[in-house]
């Protein structure tokens, strides 16, 4: 069945189940229904790659931010002219869409320097596409100088948005945007709290769909749907007592069906350290401060959990260990997109240089996973080895 067959027919999801179904469908649409409505109403849309972009600035500029994905595009034929095959498949699928001008619902794009492949999106975009592209330099360290450097970068980004969207980002608008995004983060944290239960009311795959869908629609609408979802799940019974409580760690995973394969083996993903997951909402932005740009810097570089782009490793390992304890995790799955240097070394470090209190399985994948059989087998073996160790 085509998952998008009835997408958009459910005009106003009223139950937790309807919201989840709506979000799952949204994950596999080129653009969400809510985004297209915004666009049709004359609203501006700014695309972005990677979670180091402070969406609050886009919101304060009166536009909607949308994280660019490529779930509708299993090909890379046009993109391969631009990117060699040693580039990770997410970037090649996404750039393929971009160069075919299929991201026609955005007015411009923000590209952080978060990895060697993604940073070149800006170089390509600014040469070959008509819409604006802004390169956001993300520091590799959480030093005082690095935070100062990043604040200057945010000033440059603010200027770009104002110039291209014909608007002014006042402190008042920025504070309002921060409040809106903090509300999103609070609701997502509430959702994740429910997963600490012995029998969580929502699967890992569905939770991933909830987070992913939120990166592609106006936050007001998203928050309203999240309110319905959380209220519904608070009253809902747990799904089942899982064979094992699992955690997923790794590079940008935006495909709930990937976790369906994992969970089909009887385990349940109860938490994650993902950039389509807990890392993006673990910390709020300070609202009550006179320097709001600095507050954004603090949230992005100092307060929230980082991916390997912003070293060092120990706090990341501590974050994973903390989640293992908080969510009573039995096993960790570290997934990594092939060719990703950042997560390639991270999976090595998590496996070889620290002793986590739960066993770890490392899996390489492509953006479009063909090897679901292999994944099933490896997860099955992982679960069996955990059960064997427990006996």
């Amino acid at each position: 069945m085509n998952i998008l067959e009835n997408y958009g027919n459910n005009e106003n999801p009223k139950t937790a189940g309807e919201v989840i179904r709506h979000f799952r469908e949204a994950c596999y649409a080129a653009a969400t229904k809510e985004l297209l409505e915004w666009r049709d109403g004359g609203g501006k849309v700014v695309g972005y790659y990677c979670s180091y972009v402070p969406e609050e600035l886009v919101t304060a500029a009166g536009a909607v931010s949308v994280r660019l994905r490529a779930r509708t595009n299993p090909t890379t034929d046009a993109g391969d002219t631009y990117y060699g095959n040693l580039t990770c498949s997410y970037i090649r699928h996404s750039w393929d869409l971009a160069i075919k001008q299929k991201y026609d619902f955005i007015d411009g794009v923000i590209v952080p320097t978060a990895c060697d492949s993604v940073r070149r999106i800006h170089d390509n975009w600014s040469r070959y596409l008509p819409t604006f592209s802004h390169q956001l330099v993300v520091p590799r360290r959480n030093h005082e100088e690095s935070r100062k450097y990043f604040r200057e970068e945010l000033v440059l980004l603010k200027n770009t948005l104002e110039r291209n969207l014909g608007t002014t980002i006042s402190d008042e608008r920025l504070r309002e945007a921060i409040r809106l995004h903090n509300r999103t983060r609070q609701l997502l944290r509430k959702l994740y709290e429910l997963r600490k239960q012995k029998t969580p009311p929502i699967s890992g795959a569905d939770t991933l769909a909830v987070v992913v869908a939120g990166t592609g629609m106006p936050k007001e609408k998203y928050n309203a749907l999240l309110e319905v979802l959380v209220a519904g799940l608070e009253k809902a019974p747990g799904l089942r007592e899982p064979r094992a409580r699992l955690m997923v760690v790794g590079s940008c995973l935006d495909d709930p069906s990937y976790l369906d394969v994992v969970e089909a083996q009887g385990g349940l993903v109860v938490c994650d350290s993902l950039c389509f997951g807990s890392r993006i909402f673990a910390a709020d932005v300070e609202e009550n401060t006179s320097d709001l740009l600095d507050a954004l810097v603090q949230q992005q570089i100092a307060c929230r959990p980082q991916c390997p782009h912003v070293s060092p490793f120990p706090p990341r390992a501590e974050y994973v260990e903390g989640l293992i304890k908080d969510y009573n995790v039995d096993g960790v799955i570290c997934e990594r997109m092939q060719m990703c240097d950042n997560w390639g070394m991270e999976s090595y470090l998590l496996t070889n240089s620290v002793k986590l209190s739960a066993p770890i399985l490392t899996v390489d994948r492509e953006y479009f996973s063909a090897a679901t059989g292999q994944l099933s087998t490896r997860v099955q073996a992982f679960l069996e080895s955990m059960e064997g160790a427990a006996r």
Partner: protein, 442 residues
């Protein structure tokens, strides 16, 4: 508190001795080759051997030293009288040993034991393997290299975990090659100097810093002179003839800023000038001039020989060349020296210059090199670890078209020929050049 067990020390001495013996045999062999072009390279080869011996001595005597990279302010280590060992020493510096197939095989086998994904740059896997095998001995302090790529930056975390009792300094790196970036990096280098003072007991001597900046300024100018001579057609020197300059000027602490290096560059210049004056090229019948947009591969000698013999070609410019415009360091004040050192290390040294920031730097360098050095064929972007270059493919191709150079794009591993065997490289390169020649495109 750093501790080195007697077993660790003994292991380091053992593997370094094995490396030295391999290098000695190779240097002895090369010293006996009568070809004057080969003889010109001998001082560099000897300096590499001397470096390995020095590393072994430092381990034996337990002298303070720092583990770092050539792009993180060797001027400062020199002015602190602080010996530095580097990740690249364990790879580039062992070229001598790596030229011996059996030794290379052993090093790669050791590398395979490090359980890091094989799609991550082999240089970094080799660096980690060198630490595991004690070829890189445990330092007193380490400076993490965070540029130019994800691979090197992430590898530093593994280095930190491998030496948990070694204090490590982490700096950050700017993106754009502007004054803001230089200032940012200069600030990081000041903090690094303080860190090293604290952990090694050495002191930064500003007079010594000034002296080494002046000496290296002169050497960079000479390097530029040498490279300018390669603009002549036919090229007066063979492929990678300037590799030793890079090694002696940037990668070897024993020759860094030393008169031996100045003499070495001058000898290469004299040789090239004489050939130019006589209208002689390295090849009697030079047909193809190549820009190799990567650092020197371990298989560069085989590649150069193949290019010469089968295509009448020569690599005129390569990624470690001094064809970049190195800015002389202004030695008038402490501030100006730190700014100059930051500019040189972050914006001008090989790989860091091109791979750290926006693609415009790669493209501008490439265009300038193609035009100035009359390049026919550009080989890029090849190395399996250079993900930013892989992501610049179309931009590079378009730039080549603009200036009429032919782009040969294929993938290889600079350090491991199992990835792309030399026979396959030979087939790809010769077929391409033959086809271009037949079509009279080059």
């Amino acid at each position: 508190m750093r501790t080195v067990s007697s077993a660790e020390r003994a292991k380091s001495i053992e593997v370094l001795t094995q490396e030295i013996e391999t290098q000695e045999a190779f240097v002895e062999f090369v010293s006996g080759v009568e070809d004057p072009a080969v003889q010109l390279q001998v001082p560099n080869l000897k300096s590499m051997l001397a470096l390995t011996k020095k590393v072994r001595q430092v381990v034996k005597d337990d002298e303070p030293f720092v583990y770092s990279w050539f792009v993180l302010g060797p001027e400062i280590y020199h002015a602190m009288d602080l010996f530095w060992d580097s990740g690249p020493r364990a790879e580039f510096g062992t070229f001598l040993a790596l030229s011996v197939p059996e030794y290379l095989e052993q090093v790669l086998k050791d590398c395979d034991r490090v359980a890091v994904s094989s799609d991550i740059c082999t240089l970094h896997r080799l660096a980690l393997s060198a630490i595991e095998m004690k070829r890189s001995p445990k330092p007193w302090a380490a400076v993490a290299c965070i540029h130019p790529c994800d691979g090197v930056s992430q590898a530093q975390s593994a280095v930190e975990r491998a030496w948990p009792d070694v204090p490590m300094f982490w700096m950050d790196s700017p993106y754009y090659p502007d004054e803001r970036g230089v200032k940012f990096f200069a600030g990081q280098m000041r903090r690094m100097a303080k860190f090293l003072e604290e952990h090694t007991g050495k002191r930064l001597d500003l007079d010594k810093l000034r002296d080494v900046c002046n000496a290296t300024n002169e050497q960079y100018a000479l390097w530029g002179e040498f490279d300018a001579l390669k603009r002549n057609r036919p090229c007066p020197v063979g492929s990678w003839a300037g590799y030793g300059i890079w090694n002696m000027m940037q990668n070897n602490p024993l020759t860094f800023g030393q008169p031996i290096t100045t003499q070495y560059i001058k000898s290469l210049i004299t040789d090239a000038e004489e050939k130019v004056a006589a209208g002689k090229g390295h090849l009697e019948n030079e047909k193809v001039r190549v820009l190799f947009m990567d650092i020197a591969p371990v298989w560069f000698a085989e590649f150069a020989e193949m290019l010469e013999q089968e295509c009448n070609g020569v690599v005129v410019v390569e990624g470690q060349g001094g064809s970049y415009a190195y800015t002389p360091i202004d030695t008038s004040t402490e501030e100006s020296m730190f700014m100059g050192i930051a500019r040189r290390n972050c914006m001008e040294t090989p790989m860091i210059r091109t791979s750290r920031g926006p693609v415009d730097i790669i493209i501008n360098d490439m265009i300038r090199n193609v035009l100035d050095y009359k390049i026919d064929v550009v080989i890029a972007p090849g190395h399996m670890g250079h993900k930013d270059m892989q992501a610049s493919l179309k931009i590079i191709r378009d730039a080549c078209e603009t200036v009429g150079a032919k782009l040969l794009n294929f993938q290889y591993d600079l350090f491991d020929n199992r990835y792309m065997p030399m026979e396959e490289i030979r087939r790809i390169v010769t077929q391409f050049i033959d086809a271009m020649s037949e079509e009279k495109l080059i």
